[in-house]
């Protein structure tokens, strides 16, 4: 349902998730010395343009790890526990996974800048698996800390 909402209404997700995540990642990239420029003009359409030293990268929702946020949100809502614990879980998981999305973009930016030949492997495989692993970690932590109480 969350994925369908993203497909049907990309603009709110673009303004509330994609743009801020890509913007914070760009600020961090600049801080660590990566020459990055971000254009958020098309965020409502579901993408931003990240310029890394003259090479343009299309940053889409998928690049920000939003799917992992959907998975952990769905898992928390579906888990049989009290509503208060679910609220706590969402308050913990959504910011955590979103922050991880920032980290993911920073890593991809650094790889794109320093080892462009590795960007596909990192983008398609490694960061996908690591992002999902982090989402599962957050979910397991929530179960152990809150949901079973």
């Amino acid at each position: 349902m969350l994925a369908t909402l993203l497909e049907l209404f990309p603009a709110p997700f673009g303004y509330l998730h994609l743009s801020p995540v890509a913007w914070i990642a760009t600020v961090i990239l600049k801080t660590i010395g990566v020459p990055a420029e971000l254009t958020t003009r098309d965020a409502a359409a579901g993408y931003c343009l990240l310029d890394l030293d003259g090479v343009h990268y299309l940053v889409t929702h998928e690049c920000t790890g939003i799917v992992a946020a959907f998975i952990v949100t769905a898992a928390i809502i579906a888990y049989p526990t009290a509503r208060t614990q679910k609220h706590r879980g969402l308050a913990l998981a959504i910011p955590a996974v979103t922050l991880f999305g920032v980290l993911r973009l920073v890593v991809l930016g650094v790889v794109a800048q320093s080892r462009p030949e590795w960007i596909d492997v990192f983008h398609v495989y490694i960061m996908e698996l690591v992002t999902l692993a982090f989402a599962i970690f957050v979910f397991v932590y929530w179960i152990e800390e809150f949901a079973r109480r």
Partner: protein, 156 residues
């Protein structure tokens, strides 16, 4: 570090170790897996679309659009099969009690995922050809576009 964080961290480490091992295995097994899907799909599906593996990539072979079959090479297709790594890694890093439970679960889940991939090949063949036709410019191979609409009708 509290007990909850300790449990979650150890789960994360187990999961990452297992998924890395499976990922390395995957680089050898992906061809075999892809071939198994292609063979079964080509045996049971219609003759309009067949799949083949060319140089490690999946290729959709469309018959009836041109005098010769039209081949579209689908690069990076194995990313769709990554759930084959995730599901067994999740099951192996979860404490289920016995080895037999792990094996039964892994076999069941992998079988279901394989079936899902087989079905997605069928749907994927439609999506790929529509995507190809939509990317054609005005005046570019419009005869192919018309044949596609005829052979692969879109829901209205």
């Amino acid at each position: 570090m509290g007990p909850a964080m300790r449990k979650a961290s150890s789960f994360l480490v187990r999961f990452l170790v297992i998924v890395v091992i499976l990922f390395l295995l995957w680089s050898f097994l992906s061809q075999l897996y892809l071939s198994s899907l292609v063979v079964v799909y080509n045996t049971i599906a219609s003759t309009t679309v067949k799949f083949a593996v060319y140089g490690g990539s999946l290729a959709a072979v469309y018959h009836g659009l041109q005098p010769q079959p039209m081949i579209l090479l689908l690069r990076g297709n194995d990313v769709f099969f990554m759930n084959l790594l995730i599901a067994p890694s999740l099951l192996l890093s979860t404490r289920l009690g016995s080895l037999r439970s792990h094996l039964v679960w892994i076999a069941s889940v992998t079988g279901l995922i394989w079936l899902g991939h087989l079905v997605s090949l069928g749907f994927g063949s439609y999506l790929v050809i529509w995507d190809f036709v939509d990317s054609l410019g005005p005046g570019q191979s419009q005869d192919i576009a018309l044949r596609v609409e005829d052979l692969f009708p879109r829901a209205t």
